[in-house]
């Protein structure tokens, strides 16, 4: 079991680094259906990826991708326009950050003080795992030693 746990801890450690590579759980890219031939599936996938990272300013806790509100619809078309105008996804995000502040990003950027929110859970889990494994081994050892001592005591008593 220990090796299996280590494997998934490894996953946890790498996953913050693998940005938007299909590693995130929510919303894998959804290729568009064929009914609207005018739609460019690659562009739409890119719009969705960016929209999923932005907060809908008028909703509670919903992303621009998920929100059905008018505001989110406008922001999605704004993303599309900017991508069509040749901006990179990073530039589009930067545009929204400049306009609304860091608050618009649903994930705190991994930089400076924000590292706390990314790393503390990983440290806790890794530290906890090490602690549990070490403690468990010590307990097993101590238990065996105690049992052996008991047995020995019993034998001496018989003599």
């Amino acid at each position: 079991m220990a090796t299996r746990i280590t494997l998934f801890l490894l996953l946890l450690a790498v996953s913050p680094a693998v940005e938007g590579s299909g590693f995130a759980f929510a919303q894998e890219t959804q290729e568009a259906a064929a009914t609207m031939p005018a739609e460019d599936p690659e562009l739409e996938a890119q719009v969705r990826r960016i929209a999923a990272k932005l907060r809908c300013p008028t909703c509670r806790a919903l992303s621009v991708q998920d929100s059905p509100s008018g505001m989110a619809q406008e922001m999605r078309s704004l993303i599309r326009e900017q991508l069509l105008a040749g901006k990179t996804p990073a530039e589009v995000e930067a545009y929204f950050v400049e306009r609304y502040g860091e608050w618009i990003l649903l994930e705190p950027k991994a930089e400076g003080f924000n590292w706390a929110v990314w790393l503390l859970p990983v440290f806790l889990l890794l530290g906890g795992l090490a602690f549990v494994l070490i403690t468990a081994r010590r307990w097993v050892r101590e238990g065996q030693a105690r049992a052996a001592a008991l047995v020995k005591e019993g034998q001496e008593g018989e003599l």
Binding site: F8, L11, F25, R60, L105, A116, V117
Partner: protein
């Protein structure tokens, strides 16, 4: 009239709580003759709380707008059902509801245990009454729902408004509002009881034995409600909010999830203490943390602090909660420090590959999960306070961080039950793990071939197959043994095995439910497809194997709202089979229309239609079509988990269960390697 009576009931409940608490602690401190009086005080608080809640219900139904809470949430045009349930649709009413449920739990606890646990009950009663006093103090002062309207609204003395605005439109848009909040409160508030037992254990110095036995039932019951409350809340937001999702990691959702995680950890770790007299300190800390998280969650979501650090000082609720949380924290930790010698426990572990170790990992993962969700929820406040910058922590963060932990839990849901207590012979372990591992590996290949290319989703499916196969083995092996021994049919043997040890197999049923939920979440979030279409009347769109045709678009009026509704014929490739009518509701108190999606639920996938916009001439409508695979399995998994937990406590307290347990240890020591077949949990 109702205001004055309400004041009396609330004030009386507060007074009785304080007096009763004093009596209870005096009973513990050498005046046992006061114990019945403390018990009577609890019944009195329950009676007064019931009076208060009935008064409020009458005021709401009678549209008595002289009561400020009614003037806040009532309206003559609101249908009766939503008028009654608006009891919990706003802050003051929901705290009244809280106080009533706490009074109910307290009365049940002191009544059921009136002749038992003599060492613990006075302190349990006292602790419950102190918490109760806090809530009645809130109700008497900063959150008093009975304040006369003219005082609260600053009107001329005695003036009564003719009508009110009605409940928040979102909260009167779906009947689930009648179900989800009470379930959630029953879970949330009920977690006060295990805390009271924990404090009683500390105060009495009896930190093993009785309190662990008593607390299991009093944690399981709220756990069932909390589970049902969380799942029904997810279902509610899925049916109402129109974005086709069920969990947004909103702080309100997180607040309900946090104590669920620690209560789940506690339910597992007390089994280790029950068996091995170890983890005493840890269990006390978990039960304290669980209660603190219910208070903290309420504080976060009710004080307005999340809107901004600065918003919360405007009301008194925030400081009250913060003060009480601090008090509970300090007192509890001081008691733990005081009893630290009694809480030390002998190490009790015979092998790494044992049930005990599985529980340790289960606790580690659940606590890490709790910490992650808590950190993400409060980080915006921390960042605002320290960096002076507003940041958001939303779904992408929580998904990324929690999925690996959740995967570990799915794995443990199968491995844990398969590992015997103490130690298992390598032969037994190999026998148990061989076929499930083969099945999981084969399924991995199959899923890959069928196109599961999202790594984490694929892993979830493989782990789920492993867990389910291991769990099936836990049912199959003893049932087969019984069939051979008794010559019964397999079905009867299985039934006999399960009903003879409901606690154990009920727990495994919960695990099935959790694994099903995990699969539902993984598949619905990975393979969800959505697309927006603008359709003219009679025009059809084809998307993801579904055809959706706009038949008509019309507007209408109901007493409390206006609406615009679109009728769509929907079906698969072979023509139209159903009509779905998503609509937009317009409430007078809301500028934005409240979308009301329609969902066609099928075992393989939901078809979810959200009306987004319409042409004012009625010629066309814009609809968002969402195809959500396997969503229904999340609700089914939730129901299975709740029913499994119900099965697990269905014979708790019956004599048979206890005497068998008392007789069990000697039997178990005699043949430890057979623990895969015998044993309780």
């Amino acid at each position: 009239m109702i205001s004055s009576l309400g004041y009396l009931a609330v004030g009386g409940a507060l007074l009785l709580s304080v007096v009763g608490a004093v009596a209870a602690f005096a009973a513990m401190g050498g005046r046992p003759q006061l114990a019945p009086w403390a018990r009577r005080a609890v019944y009195g608080v329950f009676a007064l709380a019931t009076l208060a809640i009935l008064l409020m219900a009458v005021a709401l139904v009678a549209h008595d707008f002289s009561v400020s809470y009614v003037a806040q949430v009532g309206s003559r045009s609101t249908p009766l059902f939503y008028t009654v349930i608006s009891l919990w649709s706003s802050l003051d009413g929901s705290i009244l509801f809280w106080g009533w449920i706490l009074a109910g739990y307290s009365a049940a606890v002191v009544y059921i245990h009136r002749d038992r646990y003599q060492d613990l009950m006075p302190a349990v009663t006292g602790t419950l009454l102190i918490v109760s006093a806090f809530f009645w103090l809130l109700l008497a002062w900063p959150a008093n729902p009975f304040v006369p309207t003219w005082q609260a609204f600053g009107l001329a003395p005695g003036q009564v408004p003719a009508d009110g605005p009605g409940p928040n439109p979102l909260l009167q848009n779906h009947p689930f509002m009648g179900l989800h909040p009470p379930l959630l409160y029953l879970g949330y508030v009920g977690l006060t009881v295990p805390f009271a037992f924990g404090i009683a254990a500390l105060l009495s110095g009896k930190v093993s034995g009785d309190w662990i036995r008593a607390v299991r039932l009093w944690t399981m019951a709220p756990w069932i409600f909390l589970t049902a409350g969380i799942v029904s809340g997810a279902w509610w937001s899925y049916e109402v909010l129109g974005w086709g999702g069920y969990w947004a990691w909103d702080p309100v959702e997180n607040a309900s999830f946090l104590p669920w995680l620690t209560a789940t950890a506690f339910l597992h770790s007390i089994m280790v203490q029950e068996r091995r007299q170890t983890l005493k300190m840890w269990n006390i800390l978990l039960v304290i943390a669980t209660f603190l998280l219910t208070l903290f969650g309420t504080f976060l979501t009710r004080s307005g602090i999340l809107a901004s650090v600065h918003a919360f000082v405007e009301g008194l609720i925030g400081p009250f909660f913060l003060g009480f949380i601090t008090l509970v924290l300090i007192v509890s930790l001081a008691l733990v420090a005081w009893r630290s010698d009694e809480l030390k426990s002998e190490p009790a572990l015979d092998a790494i590959a044992s049930r005990e170790t599985a529980f340790l990992f289960n606790n580690l993962l659940l606590v890490a999960f709790t910490f992650t969700v808590l950190l993400g929820t409060v980080y915006p406040l921390v960042a605002e306070a320290i960096r002076g910058v507003k940041v958001s922590v939303g779904a992408p963060y929580f998904n990324r961080m929690s999925v690996p932990i959740a995967l570990g839990l799915v794995l443990l849901a199968g491995i844990g039950p398969a590992l015997p207590w103490r130690r298992g012979s390598p032969d037994l372990l190999a026998k148990k793990f061989l076929w499930p591992t083969v099945a999981a590996l084969l399924s991995g290949v199959v899923f890959w071939v069928f196109g599961a290319r999202n790594f984490l989703t694929w892993l979830t499916l493989v782990f789920s197959v492993l867990a389910v196969a291991l769990l099936i083995g836990e049912f199959w092996r003893p049932a087969r043994a019984r069939r051979e021994a008794h010559g019964e049919g397999l079905g009867r043997a299985l039934l006999a095995v399960v009903s003879k040890n409901r606690r154990r197999y009920g727990g495994y049923v919960v695990h099935f439910g959790i694994v099903i939920i995990a699969v539902g979440i993984a598949l619905s979030s990975t393979y969800r497809r959505e697309r927006e279409f603008t359709l003219g009347i009679g025009e059809a769109a084809t998307f993801a194997g579904y055809t959706v045709r706009l038949d008509s678009l019309y507007a209408g009026r109901e007493p409390q709202r206006d609406f615009v509704e679109a009728a769509f014929s929907v079906g698969g490739d072979g023509g139209f089979s159903d009509t779905m009518r998503p609509r937009l509701n317009y409430y007078p108190t809301s500028q934005q229309p409240i979308g009301t999606p329609r969902v066609r639920t099928r075992p393989d996938a939901d078809l979810y239609l959200s009306l987004m916009a319409y042409d004012r001439t009625g010629a066309s409508a814009t609809v968002n079509i969402i195809v959500n695979p396997m969503v229904v399995w999340i609700w089914i998994g939730g129901a299975i988990a709740a029913l499994g937990a119900l099965l697990a406590i269905s014979n708790a307290g019956s004599g048979a269960d206890r005497s068998r347990r008392a007789a069990a240890p000697s039997v178990r020591r005699a043949k430890p390697a057979e623990a895969g077949v015998g044993g309780d949990d």
